[in-house]
């Protein structure tokens, strides 16, 4: 069995290295050892599902050793991780360890995205509870919940329309007291589909010739709004998400294949473009929205 140690902290900063590790794993059944996991954000949780799905394609259903930390356990439970993990991992039924501590800042539990009906469900859920968190934690105006829903709708539709494979979405608010001195909302949307290069290949690869790669495909979609559809009204989803994330001084990154592209604000030191990672299926999107800065 291939043992894949899950890092003690699995979040937007460490998930790419984790994917690289999964990409390099040998054929055969995998064991994801998450016993020492101490911190996981939506990127980590959704990333774990994506990694498990990718590993499962190479052999039998991978095994997941659950975290020993009761806090992490409670958090995974609150985010509906265990429901989503059924069918992705073989794991022992988690032992109920009482209610998770503290008030919940879950904006959106892990939700599978397969069809348009799932996008409606995401928007319904977010509308019903995100408004209070966005205003109390981030100081956003009451109307921001609509823009937030629009972001989630557009980004989840990318999975339905382009990935040709399932994906997941999750969102949670955190106090980044040390890192930023503010609350943030972290949104993760990932799929295990054909990725940006695969989606754009038939219509656009020829004009790029030898330069056609994950990087150029990401640049085409992310920077120039290019899509596989000829309709001039298409391809604006990502452009408008970028615009709204910029208005909120947030960060957005997309990994697809070997590359990652991002629009990063001053407070984030993530490079805007990274290439040379291990080939990994699908697209993995992370959005971080910070609280309004104090004047």
């Amino acid at each position: 069995m291939n043992v894949l140690p899950v890092p003690t902290s699995l979040d937007y900063q460490t998930v790419d290295a984790f994917f690289d590790q999964v990409a390099l794993a040998k054929e055969g059944r995998a064991l994801f050892d998450a016993r020492h996991l101490r911190w996981v954000d939506p990127n980590g949780m959704v990333g774990l599902l994506v990694a498990g799905t990718v590993a499962g394609r190479r052999g039998a259903l991978p095994r997941l050793e659950l975290p020993e930390s009761s806090d992490v356990h409670g958090y995974l439970s609150r985010m509906a991780f265990f429901e989503a993990a059924k069918g992705v991992f073989d794991f022992d039924a988690p032992v109920r360890r009482g209610a998770a501590k503290g008030a919940s800042d879950v904006l959106l539990e892990i939700t599978p995205i397969v069809a348009n009906a799932d996008v409606h469900q995401v928007v319904d859920r977010v509308q019903s509870k995100a408004g209070a968190i966005l205003s109390s934690r981030l100081g956003y105006p009451a109307t921001a919940v609509v823009q937030f829903s629009v972001i989630l709708s557009e980004i989840c539709q990318n999975i339905v329309e382009h990935a040709e494979a399932p994906g997941w979405v999750a969102a949670q608010a955190y106090n980044w007291a040390r890192r930023l001195g503010r609350y943030v909302v972290v949104i993760s949307v990932m799929d295990v589909g054909r990725g940006f290069r695969g989606s754009l290949h038939d219509e656009h690869s020829a004009r790029y010739g030898d330069r056609w790669a994950d990087t150029t495909a990401l640049e085409a979609a992310f920077l120039h709004g290019i899509t596989r559809f000829p309709d001039s009204g298409r391809g604006q989803g990502i452009q408008q998400i970028r615009k709204q994330v910029r208005r909120w001084d947030g960060a957005i990154t997309i990994r697809s294949g070997t590359a990652r592209i991002g629009q990063v604000p001053e407070w984030d030191d993530t490079p805007p473009l990274t290439d040379g990672m291990q080939p990994f299926p699908g697209a993995q999107i992370s959005i971080i929205l910070p609280a309004k800065a104090e004047p």
Partner: protein, 194 residues
Amino acid sequence: MIEPGPDPHLSPVWIDVGQVLQRTVTSLYSHLVTRPTGRAVRLAIETQLQSAGERSLSLIDLSEVVVIDFSCADEVVAKLLESAHASPRHEAYFVFGGVHEPHRDQIETVLERRGLAAVAETDQHVFALLGSVSEAEERMWRALEQRGAVSEDEIGAVLPDGNAVQLLIERRLALRSPRSGSLHALSRLVRRAT
């Protein structure tokens, strides 16, 4: 409810998009999101307008819609206008109602992307021209909006930029009465009864 306007004797059609959404797609969906949903709603509106005669004026009322995303705005607003303008048999005019702040960005964006413009009620009895419009068109539209209607004799004096006025007519952002030649602001023709 809609009060028919004066001169061009059009009976405006009021279409509540919230109701169309629930009737057409499913009563479980309360938001205008995803492209297939938008497409279904647009087709339902187009079907409703097929019986409207050679000329129609519709108030597409979005006030019961909480969330409209870019994909739906493209289908329900931009593509509705585009397909109506392309029809050789039917002269359709539209006013989009209930375009409050949370909807505005999505609608403006999709209109600009396709080089379109539309008259929208952005607040109660407040109308704006959204989308791709020149300064001259905007100026002439505002002048017409202030007056509500301008008789044929007055057009040159009140609306001196003839090219811009012609574009407003061609783009169906203002309505010229075929009988009297007077020019009408669409907002005055689609007043809701209070």
